[in-house]
């Protein structure tokens, strides 16, 4: 008998607390809409300015406009879903990492197709020894020629050239995006540039 008032008091207290908590939960649910809109707003402010960079990278990696647009849209969705985990200040590098990964997912899916278009060293090893750097330089304003030569390169070379020459990213940022050690960036970039020169020389040699 002596215990029952205590019990009742305790019950009342707990009850009171749980009412407060219910309110708290309700308020939180109501705020959720706002929070989501704010999240979307800050996401768009941080990442939509890098849309051109995202599209450019996807376009070079996939060599196809339609795929590039699909991948960029998919990448933005993926980025939005993990935006709460992004605390860095370099939104462009973060977005480009996601774009790059989304591109590779698609490329792997289409590997059969991609294999047929990979770099054929045999074809490019002959007939351009006579083309000097000066001659290549003369042709360096021919955007179409450069685009064709770039498109011939393997994916990893197109990727690193676009990131360095067009996005002006540092080796450190490139290493993060391409998921390679920083030391590999320089050697891969050197190989990519050498290969691009070869491809240009081959094309110019053929024209002659």
């Amino acid at each position: 008998m002596a215990l029952s008032p205590l019990k009742a008091e305790h019950a009342a207290e707990t009850d009171f607390e749980s009412e407060k908590i219910v309110k708290f939960v309700v308020v939180r649910n109501g705020e959720e809409d706002h929070a989501e809109k704010d999240e979307l707003k800050s996401f768009e402010a941080a990442l939509l300015p890098h849309l051109d960079a995202a599209h450019n990278l996807a376009r070079w990696l996939l060599r196809n406009e339609e795929d590039a647009q699909d991948v960029v849209q998919e990448a933005y969705l993926r980025a939005f879903k993990s935006f709460s985990g992004f605390h860095g200040s370099n939104g462009r590098a973060w977005l480009l990492t996601i774009v790059r990964n989304t591109c590779y997912t698609l490329l792997k899916k289409n590997r059969a197709v991609d294999l047929t278009t990979t770099f054929d060293e045999e074809i490019h090893m002959s007939g351009h020894e006579s083309v000097s750097p000066a001659t290549i330089l003369e042709h360096s304003e021919d955007a179409e020629l450069i685009r064709e030569a770039m498109d011939e390169l393997p994916t990893e070379f197109r990727e690193i050239l676009a990131l360095r020459h067009q996005e002006d990213l540092s080796y450190k940022e490139i290493a993060e995006i391409a998921q390679i050690p920083q030391g590999t960036v320089m050697s891969r970039l050197a190989r990519a540039r050498a290969k691009l020169k070869e491809c240009l020389a081959a094309r110019i040699g053929k024209e002659k």
Partner: protein, 276 residues
């Protein structure tokens, strides 16, 4: 350093990505080795030329809207999905008898945990904002907005000219101050033109420089007499901002180029304008 090593490191040197000691070693080698020096110069000019000509695929019209629409769709679908994921018995969204579930100690702990997490989220969101003075933050937001706006369609320049002697008089005539204008094309920052803007409650001059494929907006307006002379570098939303003040003017450079490039621009700009 021998020729083989120099050749291996040439691309890193060209990109300004080597540490100072290695850079010096290469420089020394290039001074002494005519072959490598020639190869370096040819490689450099060729790489720059190719880089400048490579087509840049800007996002086509409509892609932005398409993405925005898909993001909104994603949000609209969320509550349904969250309902599934959050369907823990402790969070009573649609339970008819709350008491039986709310009862017990675990609920209180959960509420406490939720409150702590909620407070932590708020604190984490607010702390970085306290670290920089609010006025600078606000100005930085305005500057980035102006930079982004300037790159949409054709808002970049009011006067498009690579000639400082065209840009300067044009700005002078439109403003109540005469901003310094420098041509930095030989330093790799060609002048694209000038623009007028309104910032921090006053008209400002904007000089537009190009760095490879990227644009730099350099905002200029008269400095307050007792303004702090500290140089500030900030990184926000993927953009770099660099602020400095000289005896007459306030400068804010905004771009998506690297922080180092902005520092170089500042040095070159100061070098060209200080003796006037």
């Amino acid at each position: 350093m021998n020729c083989e090593e120099a050749t291996k490191l040439m691309d890193g040197y060209l990109d300004g990505e080597l540490d100072p000691i290695t850079s010096q070693a290469i420089e020394q080698h290039l001074r002494g080795c005519r072959n490598c020096d020639q190869a370096y110069k040819t490689h450099g000019s060729l790489i720059r030329a190719i880089g400048n000509t490579t087509p840049y695929y800007k996002a086509p019209a409509g892609l932005r809207e398409r993405i925005q629409a898909s993001l909104r769709e994603e949000i609209a679908e969320r509550p349904a999905r969250n309902g599934g994921r959050d369907a823990q018995p402790q969070f009573p969204r649609r339970q008819p008898e709350p008491r039986t579930i709310l009862w017990g100690a675990s609920w209180n702990w959960l509420a406490l945990a939720a409150a702590v997490i909620f407070a932590a989220i708020i604190a984490l969101n607010l702390v970085p904002r306290w670290q920089q003075p609010a006025a600078d933050q606000f100005l930085a937001t305005q500057l980035i907005a102006s930079h982004v706006r300037s790159l949409m369609a054709s808002h970049l320049t009011d006067v498009a000219s690579t000639d400082q002697h065209t840009v300067k008089p044009w700005l002078d005539a439109k403003l109540d101050f005469a901003p310094p204008v420098a041509d930095l094309s030989s330093e790799g920052f060609p002048l694209i033109g000038g623009r007028l803007d309104y910032l921090d409650s006053r008209p400002a001059a904007v000089l537009i420089y190009q760095r490879r494929k990227h644009f730099i907006n350099l905002f200029v307006w008269p400095a307050e007499p007792n303004a702090s002379r500290a140089t500030k570098a900030m990184s926000r939303q993927g953009y770099q901002l660099l602020h400095w003040v000289d005896s007459d003017f306030n400068y804010w450079a905004v771009s998506d180029v690297s922080a180092n490039d902005l520092q170089t621009l500042k040095q070159q700009f100061e070098g060209q304008t200080s003796h006037h």
